[in-house]
Amino acid sequence: MSRIRLALAGLLALTATGALAEPAVHEVSQHGKAFHPDTLTIAPGDRVVLHNDDKRVHNIRVFHPKLDFNSGKQEPGEPVTITFDEPGTYYVTCGIHTQMELKVAVTP
């Protein structure tokens, strides 16, 4: 019994500190040829879902030594998901509307 109690207590402690928390999903809207928000601070393993709420096609790109991402054609209404596994600072942009920039800081 005491071993089970200890294990449960440990599990509760881990959950309370977030060590077993699921990766978070951060949602970003694209409209007016801009990302909203345009900065994110997330944990490794988190996912960022980029929604095209614009009236135009986008092309989500990340050029980074740890992440080379190309969404291809992203139609209005279509979501694109990027998982950031490695710590670092990433810049998400649109290959067509290069003025769009989303800064993603991935910190443990």
Binding site: P23, E27, S29, K33, H36, G95, T98, Q99
Partner: protein, 342 residues
């Protein structure tokens, strides 16, 4: 999973509404503020500005010895007195025929995110070497150019001054690119009548030009893409020019949805930079206005921002009057050619 989207959307809606009361256009002062010039030129951390690097870059930019035939410099096509273009619809190619795209200006490229009409270069350093290598332009293989420059004592001295910490050989293609890029970043359009007006001189531009500025930001919808102090968002659009087989941004991205897209050019000095568009096909500003008033090709890749506008004769004249306020003053045109190293 935490769902953050509703809160984000609400926040961004608030932020978008912040500059003015929701639904109202920006005040004239707020609109002018969007066009205020930056105070300093940005230089990248890995290629900082130094006087020696600017001097060297300028010499290289004007030196015809950078070409295979020793007859073409960067400045041969980017002519300072012509707004850093050459006035040609399409420049003659070294190998015969014409280049497929119109020579773009190099005004204010320090603020650029991508380079060339299709954005295929992601830095000025990357851009600088390509016309030198291009068989249709300067047609100079880089190893041969390095040999040539290393034989010129003045360049050995100039590269050493510009890159004092560099290991031998000091003259390399990468440093050649850095020097040219540094010089190009200093090519910033001087203060224009429009800038003086933005800075508070109410009489710097005519009443017609002021009406044109309102049209530019309103009914004519030019500022949708020609935005900010440099009059370019830096984005790529298909504006419905006839298909010449040039995929533009589509080829760079390997994305058919981006076919026919080319970068939004600056409008700085636009009245002195005819002909217009990436293919040089429109001979004057009136032809450009005609194009946007329905004279474009409708196809799947046409920009969502392309909706035919309708302007009266007076509105056209006002818009053109405004565009002329972006002209470099005569006293500030051209730059002295540098003395080249021997």
């Amino acid at each position: 999973m935490r769902r953050l989207r509703p809160a984000i959307l609400a926040l961004s809606a608030l932020a978008a509404a912040a500059p003015t009361t929701a639904g109202e256009p920006p005040t004239p002062a707020a609109l002018k503020a969007q066009y205020a010039r930056p105070e300093t030129i940005p230089f990248p951390e890995d290629n900082p500005r130094s006087p020696a690097r600017v001097t060297l870059g300028k010499q290289l930019f004007f030196d015809e010895r950078l070409s295979g035939g020793n007859d073409t410099a960067c400045a041969t096509c980017h002519i300072p007195a012509l707004g850093w273009e050459d006035g040609e619809r399409l420049t003659e190619s070294t190998g015969g025929g014409n280049l497929k795209r119109h020579t773009p200006t190099i005004w204010n490229r320090a603020w650029g995110r991508t380079f060339f009409w299709d954005g295929s270069a992601r830095s000025l350093e990357e851009q600088a070497l390509q016309p030198i290598r291009n068989p249709g332009e300067m047609n100079q293989p880089m190893p041969a150019l390095m040999d040539e420059l290393r034989r010129i004592p003045g360049y050995r001295k100039g590269f050493r001054a510009a890159f004092p910490d560099a290991e031998a050989p000091v003259i390399t293609a990468a440093r050649l690119a850095k020097a040219i890029a540094t010089y190009e970043r200093t090519v910033v359009q001087p203060q224009t009548a429009f800038d003086a007006w933005v800075d508070g001189d109410g009489n710097a531009i005519s009443e017609a030009a002021r009406r044109g500025f309102r049209l530019f930001n309103g009914k004519a919808r030019c500022a949708e893409c020609h935005s900010g102090w440099n009059f370019s968002s830096g984005a790529f659009h298909d504006i419905g020019l006839p298909d010449t087989g040039d995929r533009g941004r589509g080829a760079v991205l390997d994305l058919p949805a981006a076919d026919h897209m080319f970068k939004v050019p600056t409008l700085r000095d636009i009245a002195r930079r005819a002909p217009y568009m990436h293919d040089g096909s429109l001979p004057n500003l009136q032809a450009v206005l005609d194009h946007y008033q329905g004279g474009f090709v409708r196809r799947e890749t046409l920009s969502a921002d392309m909706e035919a506008i309708a302007l009266t004769d007076r509105e056209e004249a006002d818009l053109i009057a405004f565009l002329h306020t972006l002209t470099t003053p005569p006293a500030a045109r051209g730059v002295p050619r540098p003395e080249l190293p021997q």
